[in-house]
């Protein structure tokens, strides 16, 4: 089952491979991501981190988010994956929770419902702002449009049960890395 979107591009890839392609080092996506990495490393914001997965591909990052203090997620650390499209930053990156995440706006496969990652995306957002937004989402979910209805119900209704269920899903980041 080929996705409708991928068919034309795979077709074109044959065409493009024939042509001599020179990848410019100064390509805007790469350059921008390098600059973001630099910014992230220099600013050293506590509770968030991100880094490219491999040397060869700067478009695939992995990151961690620590739960903010005073929330259900305090003291827990979550792993996320970030995939940057070739037209980044004009299009939003695809962000997923790799750690199992039990949260009103995150589904069971880790997809996140956050407006700034969808229709409210702006080209000036960057890895740091995304990570900080996700971190604050952990403490302030949008319960009006939940992906996880149970979590949304329990958020205000039954904090003890929320915490219990959330912890049954939680996996330490060490366990995930071993997998």
């Amino acid at each position: 089952m080929d996705s409708q979107n991928s068919t034309p591009t795979t077709f074109s890839s044959h065409k493009m491979q024939d042509a001599p392609t020179t990848m410019a080092d100064s390509h805007s996506v790469t350059k921008r991501l390098q600059s973001e990495l630099m910014q992230l490393m220099m600013s050293n914001v506590p509770g968030i981190s991100a880094f490219p997965v491999s040397d060869s591909n700067l478009c695939q990052w992995t990151g961690t988010i620590s739960g903010p203090e005073g929330t259900y997620y305090e003291g827990l650390t979550y792993k996320i994956s970030m995939t940057f499209p070739p037209n980044y930053p004009y299009h939003a990156p695809v962000i997923r929770f790799v750690s199992p995440m039990w949260h009103p706006n995150v589904d069971m496969s880790g997809n996140i419902c956050l407006d700034i990652l969808k229709e409210k995306w702006s080209a000036i957002y960057n890895v740091q702002t995304i990570l900080l937004s996700l971190q604050s989402l952990l403490g302030e979910p949008n319960n009006a449009s939940p992906l996880n209805a149970q979590a949304a119900d329990l958020w205000d209704g039954n904090p003890a049960e929320y915490k219990r269920l959330m912890m049954t899903h939680y996996k330490d980041i060490g366990e995930i890395n071993d997998e």
């Binding site: 080929d2 591009t9 493009m16 910014q39 490219p52 992995t62």
Partner: protein
């Protein structure tokens, strides 16, 4: 895993505002970052200003506008105010600022990274404590008064305070600090003074008039100041009135002697401003119009690309994307002071496209969501069938085979109702939570399922690309 990667070599090539932290001039961090485009994080290239007064590189904002779906109005990435491409205006001042800052950056950085050099200040006063604190303040204030006196109104009080300050200081120290004041104030005066008067000042100083330097407020304990043009000493109030006449006289004299230019610094400014104008008039690069792609069929679009000298292979979507990108590249290049050749631009376009396809290939191979979708396809079929029932209760599932019109409606509802359908199914746990995820992958998947079960209506092929 992460620590093994060596990014230091790449990082050395990238300049960043954070380079200034840890140097002796950390305050330049803000200047550095203000001169950068918020989209590409690099220094502005052909900066353009939106109506909401935000500045971006020409290419960045054009690409940003081009990437907005045609159904929506493009908005400013910073404040989300509506942005129209034709309303963008060049920001020449920023362009010049960037140019001069970039030129000087390396040198400033080197200086800023050197070990701090302690300069011995010759202080004559024995009262060292007062000198260190109050004197520094005094120097600052005095510099302000030097700057202000010729241009803005000066209260009578300032004359008195100047004389009091002068009386406090020893003569040796005064002469040292007067020189210091002039050296420092030179840079600061020019941008803040208004037009004529700054010209007057700089013309006086560029002529190397030494008497102007010596005869400062400290040199005139009575609070008298020299006219910056003719150096006649008078009170600050008198200078105000005198200066305009004196300057006009001076200018008339200079223009008579040398009709082409009145002063060196003036010339410098003028050449700066006329630079882009002259290049523009030399090479009037035509802007390319945007196309309303709906009005072009495939062959027309292809011939349009050939006309522009672009490759014309690929699918319709590729043709459109290529044309959009080319228009952005071309128009941004037309804005540039140093436009690239068409050959270079074509190379840029090729880089862009190969990057796009490289990514697409990776996406297919590494997309675990696609495999996940494959294994769960039955569940999706089932859910979609149920969703259809909910959306159009009157229709029976058998109608899928007949009545193409209703099928088309059905399909549209399916997609327009992306958000509403999952809500109805929310009561069912587990799988339903999965279907309600609104990611792109799911959108693709949805299309496929529909394509498989229905005769694809004409709407679907373009609408989801």
């Amino acid at each position: 895993m992460l620590s093994s990667i060596g990014y230091s070599t790449i990082m050395d090539q990238i300049s960043d505002p954070s380079d200034w932290t840890g140097t002796r001039l950390p305050s330049l961090l803000m200047l550095d970052s203000s001169l950068r485009c918020r989209i590409c994080k690099d220094f502005f290239k052909s900066p353009f200003m939106t109506e909401c007064t935000h500045t971006f590189c020409s290419l960045c904002i054009r690409k940003c506008i081009a990437s907005t779906p045609t159904s929506e109005t493009a908005c400013c990435p910073i404040c989300r105010a509506p942005v129209l491409e034709i309303r963008l205006r060049r920001n020449q001042v920023v362009e010049d600022l960037v140019e001069w800052f970039e030129n000087a950056r390396a040198a400033i950085m080197t200086t800023a990274k050197e070990e701090p050099v302690v300069i011995a200040v010759p202080v004559a006063s024995t009262d060292s404590e007062r000198v260190s604190s109050s004197e520094r303040r005094g120097r600052k204030r005095r510099r302000d008064s030097v700057d202000e006196e010729p241009s803005t109104s000066v209260t009578p009080e300032s004359g008195d305070s100047a004389s009091r300050r002068a009386a406090r200081r020893g003569s040796r120290k005064v002469s040292y600090e007067v020189k210091l004041d002039i050296g420092e104030s030179e840079d600061e005066v020019a941008p803040f003074d208004n037009g004529k008067k700054s010209d007057a000042r700089s013309s006086a100083s560029s002529r190397g008039d030494s008497s102007f330097i010596i005869l400062d407020d400290d040199g005139n304990p009575d609070g008298l100041v020299p006219c910056p043009v003719c150096n006649v000493v008078m009170t600050p109030q008198e200078v105000q009135i005198h200066l305009d006449d004196c300057f006009k006289e001076q200018e008339a004299k200079e223009s008579r002697a040398n009709p082409s230019s009145s002063s060196k610094s003036n010339d410098h400014i003028r050449t700066l401003q006329s630079q882009p104008l002259s290049t523009k008039s030399k090479k009037p690069l035509q802007r390319l119009p945007k196309l309303q792609y709906d009005l072009f069929n495939d062959s027309k679009l292809r011939s349009k690309l050939v006309e522009l000298g672009l490759p014309a292979y690929g699918t319709r979507v590729q043709l459109q994307q290529r044309h959009t990108e080319w228009v952005s590249l071309w128009n941004a290049n037309a804005d540039s002071n140093n436009p690239k050749t068409k050959k270079q631009l074509l190379r840029d376009l090729n880089d862009w496209e190969s990057n796009l396809t490289k990514y697409a290939v990776q996406k297919v191979s590494a997309n675990d969501l696609a495999t996940w979708g494959r294994t769960h396809s039955n569940e999706f079929d089932d859910l979609i069938a149920r969703a259809k029932k909910n959306v159009q209760k009157k229709l029976h599932p058998e109608q899928q085979q007949g009545e193409p019109n209703t099928v088309e409606v059905n399909v549209q509802n399916q997609h327009e109702g992306q958000d509403s359908v999952p809500k109805e199914l929310k009561k069912v746990d587990g799988i339903d939570q999965k279907i309600s995820s609104r990611t792109d992958e799911r959108m693709d998947y949805d299309c496929d399922v529909l394509k498989g079960t229905l005769i694809t209506p004409p709407v679907s092929s373009d609408a989801f690309m």
